[in-house]
């Protein structure tokens, strides 16, 4: 970057290898991928069953991942949706309370969309911080799930349909996996190729710039929360069908797992950075890890320790955090080496 004439501000084009290197360097999923490979290798060595029974692992990934995918849409805009797990529960209960299965599914999904709209209304129109707004919704919806269900599991009217739903229907794939894969592709396309989705990055990365560029920021936020609500409702519908009953306490482990998947996948909680693919990688790591740990039969607290470590590993290996960590470690040593007067 120097001379005035024909100022060379860009970098030179290289061969295939350097093209690939550049492409990789541009992605935000690098660490998530490295982590996934590590988890996969460790699992392959200790619990190969997690791979030989890959349908089970895929099922677990789909269980954790679906909600995380929808959540990512909101996080990309620098907002949070803490209400996803409660949305899942309340939509399941709504669905099971309606005797007609098809009607129940439609009603549940509609409720999910409405919850998204309400969340976005509080954030955009009323101007409440999304953490607080969705925290309120978290409690409200959980309570609503208990009230609607009379505080007990609601059994599906057509249990057999539910049991059939849990069976593979496309080769070894169950409907859950297929829906998960479709949701992933749809969302991935949405945030990479559709203008509205692409502009999520602008809303999260530099909101001022998004406003100035004439992007309808408020509408984008509405869209994001509706995606999140809809996908959570979808997860609730799938869970209810597979279990043949809706439990108002459902999803108690979903909220943190889906945030963990997004974070491990390299999605920045303050918005603007990350990808749906990253979340998929994060959910896959987490899913494999959980299945492997389940197979080893270690206690749930030990499992939580391992997952916590992986999460921290994913976060501190961010180049920025890494620099800070190394720096602080050094200064700790230097600080010890003597801050006394020498003269």
């Amino acid at each position: 970057m120097s001379q005035a004439q024909g100022i060379q501000l860009g970098q030179e084009q290289g061969g295939l290898v350097s093209r690939i290197r550049v492409t990789i360097a541009r992605r935000t999923e690098g660490r998530a991928l490295a982590l996934l490979i590590l988890v996969a290798i460790a699992t392959w060595i200790t619990e190969p069953t997690a791979f030989t029974a890959w349908e089970v692992t895929l099922g677990r990934v789909a269980l954790i991942g679906l909600v995380a995918l929808g959540l990512t849409a909101v996080i990309l805009m620098g907002e949070l949706d803490l209400s996803v797990a409660s949305t899942l529960a309340v939509c399941g209960v709504v669905m099971a309370s309606i005797d007609n299965l098809a009607l129940g599914v439609v009603a549940a999904l509609a409720v999910g969309l409405i919850i998204g709209v309400v969340n976005a209304f509080f954030v955009v129109v009323v101007g409440i911080n999304s953490f607080i707004a969705s925290l309120g919704m978290l409690f409200f919806l959980r309570g609503a799930a208990f009230v609607i269900s009379n505080e007990e599991p609601v059994r599906l009217a057509s249990r057999d349909a539910g049991i059939a739903f849990g069976k593979p229907f496309l080769g070894p794939l169950t409907p859950r996996m297929v829906i998960f894969i479709v949701a992933f592709i749809a969302l991935q396309v949405f945030v990479t190729r559709v203008r509205a989705g692409r502009e999520f990055y602008a809303v999260g990365g530099n909101r001022e710039a998004a406003y100035d560029a004439g992007i309808p920021v408020r509408r984008r936020i509405f869209t994001g929360f509706m995606i999140s609500g809809f996908v959570a409702a979808l997860a609730g519908v799938i869970n209810t069908l597979e279990r043949t009953a809706a439990d108002p306490t459902a999803g108690s482990t979903v909220l943190l797992a889906s945030f963990a998947a997004a974070i491990i996948g390299g999605v920045l909680l303050t918005g603007g950075r990350g990808s749906i693919f990253g979340t998929l990688l994060g959910a896959t790591s987490l899913g494999i890890l959980q299945v492997a740990l389940t197979l080893t039969g270690v206690q749930v607290d030990v499992q939580n320790i391992v997952i916590g470590l992986v999460l921290l590993l994913a976060v501190i290996t961010d180049p920025n955090s890494l620099r800070t960590v190394v720096g602080s470690a050094r200064s700790l040593f230097q600080g010890r080496s003597g801050s006394h007067p020498v003269g």
């Binding site: 692409r198 710039a209 801050s339």
Partner: protein
């Protein structure tokens, strides 16, 4: 305006009817009037300079023109038609493009996506990639900058981001291009390139409004220049009818000539207060440095030579991998190992990025000033509010804070005044050593003069001063000794008498051998 006869002629020079006019624009924020009854007009093909101290209302006026702000009174007229007030879209459609002072790119989106941001070509919601890239590459071609269209903005240098920002404005096919301090982050070569580019664009009939603190740039490219002060339009003149110092006089509203050219009387330097030996850190490859009491030592060199890294390592703000720093006061020598110990041993450090490093923008000026002075403002670890107020007021007056309202949030002040707040908070400690990194970057001329005066006063009071500056005249004006840094080493040391722009630059760029130690 009517009293100025040159306006007519210049407009004719520039080629006819005005394309954009601001008519009697008034903009108030709360009680303060940021722009007060200002009218300007710019013709196609004209480069119109806009100068004024920080807080004079330049940016506010431009934001009104671009439809980001709604004026309280007055209007914006394009081609004789009044523009819908406060509509970004209307302004864009009328062909007004603003290149912001603060970069307004989206870090994770690519160059191409940023260039078309807000106007992305779509088909049924899907982005038309080919068309998007065509628009982007056309715009980049227009300004003759080469950059990979798929590169995310985060991976670009600050300078390149600035050019992408300009490409974005160009991509909107503007008829009026407004640039707000585009050269603040550019090297001289890049600045040159930008100015040439603007002249070329103006030659194609584009009307350009150019805001800058750098008077020479104004003289190089502008046809006319307007001076704003405290929200008022002081004057609009043809550039051929005015001299640089006259512009400065109009900006600050007083004679500065004398002050500007006052050289510091050399003070007999005292003992070595700050001693750095063998400093190594990322970007710093072993530097020795002494600063004496009452001495101003300058660090010159190109951006990226390692000067900032050096001073950050010295104060312990960043980690040094080798070397020792000692401070010698009252006959005791103390090692400095960390930022904490540096501060407690009498260091003051004014960082380059004052917005992020030097100030808590949401805290009041008063609290900011109190921050490093807590121990002398508290009794039994409890802060005494009353004492803070008088303490902060005294210091704010000493640095000439404007407006002198210490209970306002620091973020409300202009860049120059924020810098004064940073200085004020350290002055309160009466530091033995003060390190200033680019103390006047982005600061207007008036504030610059006052900051220079403060630095000199400090040195005369016996403080050892270390200044990093890319502003050569500033360095030559202030420093008793200049160390020129290149590639993390001291390339040469120049005394006040030896130093001139040429000698410093040749050392900085590596054209000459080390001389004059």
């Amino acid at each position: 305006m009517s009293e100025n006869p040159t306006t007519e002629t210049t407009r004719q020079d520039a080629g006819g009817r005005a394309i954009i006019e601001a008519r009697n624009v008034v903009k108030r924020f709360g009680g303060a009037t940021a722009v007060d009854d200002v009218s300007i007009e710019v013709a196609p093909g004209e480069i119109y300079g806009l100068v004024g101290e920080n807080g004079a209302g330049k940016s506010t006026l431009m934001r009104v023109l671009a439809g980001i702000l709604t004026p309280d009174h007055g209007s914006v007229v394009v081609d004789g038609r009044e523009l819908e007030a406060g509509s970004t879209r209307a302004a864009l459609e009328a062909g007004i493009s603003l290149v912001h002072q603060e970069l307004s790119l989206v870090p994770e989106l690519t160059v191409a996506e940023n260039i078309v941001l807000g106007t992305t070509p779509v088909q049924a919601g899907f982005i038309k990639k080919r068309e998007m890239k065509k628009i982007a590459s056309d715009a980049l071609e227009e300004i003759r900058v080469q950059v990979d269209l798929d590169e995310p903005i985060v991976r670009l240098s600050v300078a390149l981001r600035q050019f992408v920002e300009i490409a974005r404005a160009i991509a909107r096919k503007p008829r009026v291009l407004i640039l707000d301090e585009p050269t603040a982050t550019l090297t001289p070569a890049e600045t040159d390139y930008l100015l040439d580019m603007l002249e070329r664009l103006a030659g194609q009939g584009l009307a350009i409004i150019y805001i800058s603190h750098r008077i020479p740039e104004i003289f190089r490219i502008c046809n006319r220049v307007s001076v704003l002060r405290d929200g008022h339009l002081v004057d609009t003149v043809s550039i051929s009818d005015i001299k640089p110092n006259e512009i400065v006089d109009k900006m600050v509203g007083r004679e500065l000539k004398q002050e500007l050219e006052t050289s510091r009387t050399k003070v007999a330097a005292g003992d070595v207060v700050l001693q750095a030996r063998g400093i190594k850190a990322p970007g710093v490859n072993g530097i020795d440095l002494d600063v004496r009491a009452g001495e101003i030592v300058g660090l010159g060199g190109l951006v990226g030579a390692g000067r900032t890294e050096l001073v950050r390592a010295i104060v312990g703000a960043d980690i040094k991998s080798a070397g020792t720093v000692t401070i010698n006061t009252d006959g005791t020598m103390r090692r400095v190992n960390s930022y904490r110990s540096a501060i407690s041993h009498g260091f003051a450090y004014v960082p380059e990025e004052r917005r992020t490093d030097g100030l808590a923008l949401t805290m009041t000026v008063s609290d900011n000033i109190a921050l490093p002075n807590r121990s002398q403002l508290s009794r039994y670890s409890v802060l005494m509010r009353g004492k803070i107020g008088t303490f902060a007021k005294e210091l704010a007056d000493a640095v000439g804070l404007r407006p002198p309202e210490i209970q306002r949030e620091a973020g409300d002040f202009s860049g120059g005044n924020q810098q004064k707040v940073v200085l004020a908070k350290w002055l309160g400690r009466k530091p033995d050593v003060i390190i200033l990194d680019e103390p006047t970057r982005g600061v207007d001329v008036g504030a610059k003069v006052e900051i220079h005066r403060l630095v000199r006063d400090l040195a005369e009071g016996g403080t050892a001063v270390l200044v990093v500056s890319s502003d050569l005249p500033e360095l030559l004006d202030l420093a008793d000794v200049i160390h020129v840094v290149r590639d993390g080493r001291i390339a040469g040391t120049l005394s006040r008498d030896e130093a001139d722009e040429k000698s410093v630059m040749s050392l900085a760029s590596g054209e000459s051998q080390v001389r004059g130690l």
